[in-house]
Symmetry: C2
Subunit: 322 residues, 2 copies
């Protein structure tokens, strides 16, 4: 009997489904596509491989699972060892797929804050011709990118292309962050890296190290003109400290696509924080054709690697969380 690949990926187009079916066939797998989370959960026990957007609650039932490729890049919710029946099962993520869409979202949010768009939209709602207000620019700016993976580097490249004067990469290891970064800082020098910046961009996974990393003391190290953007995981920001910094005017503005909790409840003080833009974790959604295309390609490539016993792309170290 052929080993079974189970997929729950409603975002795929027919041609992407066909490509995955062909890769499965070619490598000796039976493919089962599930239409709903419930259907997947009922049938997951027979699957050696799973792919798509799953709930972590599926994993304890996936008794035959040897490999799960998540369609999301953040996989912290799958790193609890108690979830896995087989401790040697491999977890891979979709890092590399979301860089384009999320970095464009970041450029959008940063420019909105720099160009006073929330104020101008409020004027337009009242049918008022707004005043000339001081605007700012990415051109000539200093930007710290905290987390220099796919998201951070996609953003750093775009900021540099728009004329940012100095782009600093902040990362764990001391090796240079890459050619689009003017400077590299290790995480222990975070406060130096964020000092005197126009923009601090957070592109971090949720891990033990990143949780609460942007606390009151790091916010206090930022200049009053700094704009903070977070598209990684909400847990990296001390939200109470952020709200305080925004409402007191010690920080010029912020934009969050991720926060804690999600969805944000109606009575949460983030909704009313000063100069804060909120988008509901949409920067990396699967509505862009080429995001799905990249993701399906990555899975097809990993199917062949898995069959050949080669190391899979984007393998996660579950003890680190990324």
């Amino acid at each position: 009997m052929k080993p079974v690949i189970g997929i729950l990926a409603p975002f795929l187009t027919p041609s992407q489904r066909a490509a995955i079916a062909a890769a499965a066939e070619e490598n000796g797998f039976a493919l089962r596509e599930f239409a709903t989370a419930e259907e997947l959960e009922e049938n997951c026990a027979e699957c050696e491989v799973l792919y798509g957007y799953l709930s972590p609650s599926v994993l304890p039932k996936a008794r035959a699972l040897k490999w799960f490729q998540s369609a999301s890049a953040g996989v912290d919710q799958f790193c609890d060892p108690a979830l896995w029946q087989n401790p040697d099962a491999v977890l891979t993520n979709s890092s590399g797929v979301y860089g384009v869409t999320i970095s464009e979202h970041m450029i959008c949010l940063v420019l909105m804050l720099m160009r006073r768009i929330p104020e101008y939209m409020a004027c337009a709602q009242r049918r008022e011709w707004g005043p000339q207000m001081p605007l700012r620019s990415i051109y000539g700016s200093t930007i710290a990118v905290v987390g220099t993976g796919d998201l951070g580097t996609s953003f750093a490249r775009r900021a540099k292309a728009l004329g940012a004067r100095c782009v600093r990469g902040v990362k764990r290891s001391p090796a240079p962050a890459g050619p689009c970064y003017d400077e590299t800082y290790t995480a222990d020098r975070l406060k130096e890296a964020v000092a005197d910046c126009d923009v601090v961009a957070l592109c971090l996974p949720h891990t033990k190290e990143t949780a609460g990393m942007i606390d009151a003391s790091v916010l206090a190290a930022m200049a009053p003109r700094t704009l903070l953007v977070n598209v990684g995981r909400g847990s990296s920001v001390d939200q109470e400290a952020l709200i305080e910094a925004l409402n007191s005017g010690r920080l010029a503005g912020a934009a969050l696509d991720v926060m804690v909790p999600e969805p944000l409840p109606k009575d949460h003080p983030l909704w009313s924080a000063k100069n804060l833009l909120i988008t509901p974790h949409v920067a990396g959604n699967m509505s862009l054709g080429w995001t799905c295309e990249f993701d399906a390609q990555l899975f097809c490539e990993n199917i062949a690697r898995y069959r050949a016993g080669e190391p899979l792309k984007n393998t996660i170290d579950r003890t680190r969380g990324y």
Copy 2:
């Protein structure tokens, strides 16, 4: 007696003023700085050269005027021959100064429409976690830039750097629009150029030819997914036709930083058009330090050219209007 340069340029910093004073001195001019439009108007008769933001009403009183350098790039309001006492007086503009700030504003507005920001901001105002909506991207897009001067080309470069697949330049003369354009169209092929585009960006001066150029038939040639952005002059768009195209859903969205009239009156139907973003002619305001720096440098360079009898940079053909 030295010839007099009169300036009305409240945006200048002390060091920019000092640079202009030095250029005037070096080239044998007396410099008079005016604090208000009234003061300038009272004293303009003695000025051989004027620089800054002037009202057209000053020109008929400027009897000794031989050269006026406008601090704005659009100078249509100064092109009426009846304004000029001396028909040989030279008009120069500030083209080249605004490309950076205006093109960043354009990127911001285009991405806001692509990322459904107005809808997400409306959700946030109601403290509601918005739905996942289809987002779009500059990466992979097709963009027509109508008017390939400083503004258009600054935007084209940025769009290309963000991964636009095809950037078309639309211009009067058939010579290639420049290296950042994938294709060049002459203005008589406008409807072909705007067909099947994600974005149509208008960067046109006000002239006889551009007035009403984007009429109902050109709007009808655009695909339903097209987003229209205008940062040139409001007169190039037939606003009634635009409102109709937006409200009927034949056009996906638009963003205007310029319109007719400015300021827009409270009862104007543009305020309530569907999927329309309005900013009040602020994309090129003088609040950015380096915009002022570029503008002061341009004037200093032209002072030396004027004294040496060389052609001035940015000389306007008043019969064409740019």
